[in-house]
Symmetry: none
């Protein structure tokens, strides 16, 4: 078998692809998410195809290593588990999974595996779907379900890549909130400036207005650098005013 058994990365098998451009785009989509094993079954215009390279946007290694086979069984001879992508309902009793579920399974099995994609217009033939262990279907707008080939490939590749690491990838790139004393300093600065300018002119609402101000400054969780910037801004506004104030 061609894949290292240690690698769970599935082969992407394009069955009777029509346009070299779409093969190139599929290669790009694969490499975006770390897949490199491209297999072509009876590409319409032969192989290599001069339209593939430009469309791959630099995924040359994927195209260079692509292998061509005459039939689907030939292409998946080394694979232990195979998914057939299809949107149409088939009269076949097989598990039907989403790209997300398939990605989880692919990772868990960690075996040589493949995902079949049919030709641009016609998709996979029913006999080809029958060869697969399971059907992979992308959940899609029921009123507009035509995914192009490279789009279908990228969704499968993306889910495979995401499934590498169950830990959430979201992160923040900001410093933690400032010490309370810094925040208090900012609050006091603005509060004092507003007192000077006569902002608190409705006695019954002074307390709630001050609470509102405090909340406006607290909720963002500003860090030390941000608070220094805000102090500078307030200082500029206040000193600008004082600088123009007639001496009394």
């Amino acid at each position: 078998m061609s894949d290292s058994p240690a690698s769970p990365a599935p082969a992407i098998v394009l069955v009777r692809p029509q346009l070299g451009e779409n093969i190139g785009k599929a290669a790009r989509a694969m490499l975006n998410f770390g897949l490199t094993d491209l297999r072509l079954v009876a590409p319409r215009d032969g192989w290599p195809n001069p339209d593939a390279g430009p469309a791959s946007a630099g995924a040359d290694e994927v195209l260079a290593n692509a292998r061509v086979f005459a039939t689907v069984p030939d292409a998946i001879a080394d694979c232990r588990y195979v998914y057939a992508t299809t949107v149409r309902k088939r009269d076949l009793w097989k598990p039907v999974v989403t790209p997300e579920a398939a990605a989880r399974e692919l990772r868990e099995r960690a075996l040589p595996q493949a995902v079949l994609f049919g030709a641009e217009r016609s998709g996979l033939e029913t006999d080809e779907v029958a060869i697969a262990h399971a059907i992979l279907t992308v959940p899609v707008n029921p009123n507009f379900g035509s995914l192009n080939l490279a789009q279908a490939v990228i969704l499968v590749a993306y889910e495979w890549f995401k499934a590498a690491d169950a830990t959430p990838a979201s992160q923040t790139n900001y410093d933690p909130p400032a010490a309370h004393a810094s925040l208090e300093g900012l609050y006091g600065h603005i509060d004092g400036a507003l007192e000077d300018a006569g902002y608190y002119n409705v006695p019954s609402r002074v307390a709630s207005t001050k609470r509102t101000l405090r909340n406006l400054l607290t909720r963002p969780g500003y860090n030390e650098k941000e608070i220094r910037t805000l102090r500078g801004i307030v200082h500029t506004l206040v000193e600008g005013r004082r600088g123009h104030r007639p001496k009394t």
Copy 2:
């Protein structure tokens, strides 16, 4: 605002898209996953573009309803929360989320929201990223991270569609973030006051200082009432100053 408040479906904003073909493919990707609100900022070749229709593969309604704007702030004037898609690291303190996390958040907020996508080659300018509340980054092969425009759109749209049946998560007792136009008004108010007061006195740092200010005001997600309060505070400080300024 143009979106029904009941619809959480985000607007897809293509900023300075170059090729009509890519606009068409983005429209197709959107409709595949139920998104229909396409907005174009300064498309290079004008609009409509004859290359868009054939590439949309039938997503004509999305193209027919696309709206064109001169600037990003114009395009997102009605939006309450905005994501900027980018792969490059930016020197901005903003939350960074995956498409999956963004999709959950978009569903939970159920407000007019937008996702910005930059031009094919150059991506978004840093000032455009600064306008957004958060950065959306697709986890991708670090050695081959160039996603094409329609591929980036389809991954966001796909995750949005998948998140349809996620259970609603935690609620806050805050009003939702204000429309972008309100935030822009607050920013312009403070920025103008700082200009008047000579705050931007180091020419080489004007742009980054303005971005910092914008980020300080954007990140909290202030709601309409909070922004009115902040406008009042700034007005008090500025008018206090002007009230004392000698007539010239």
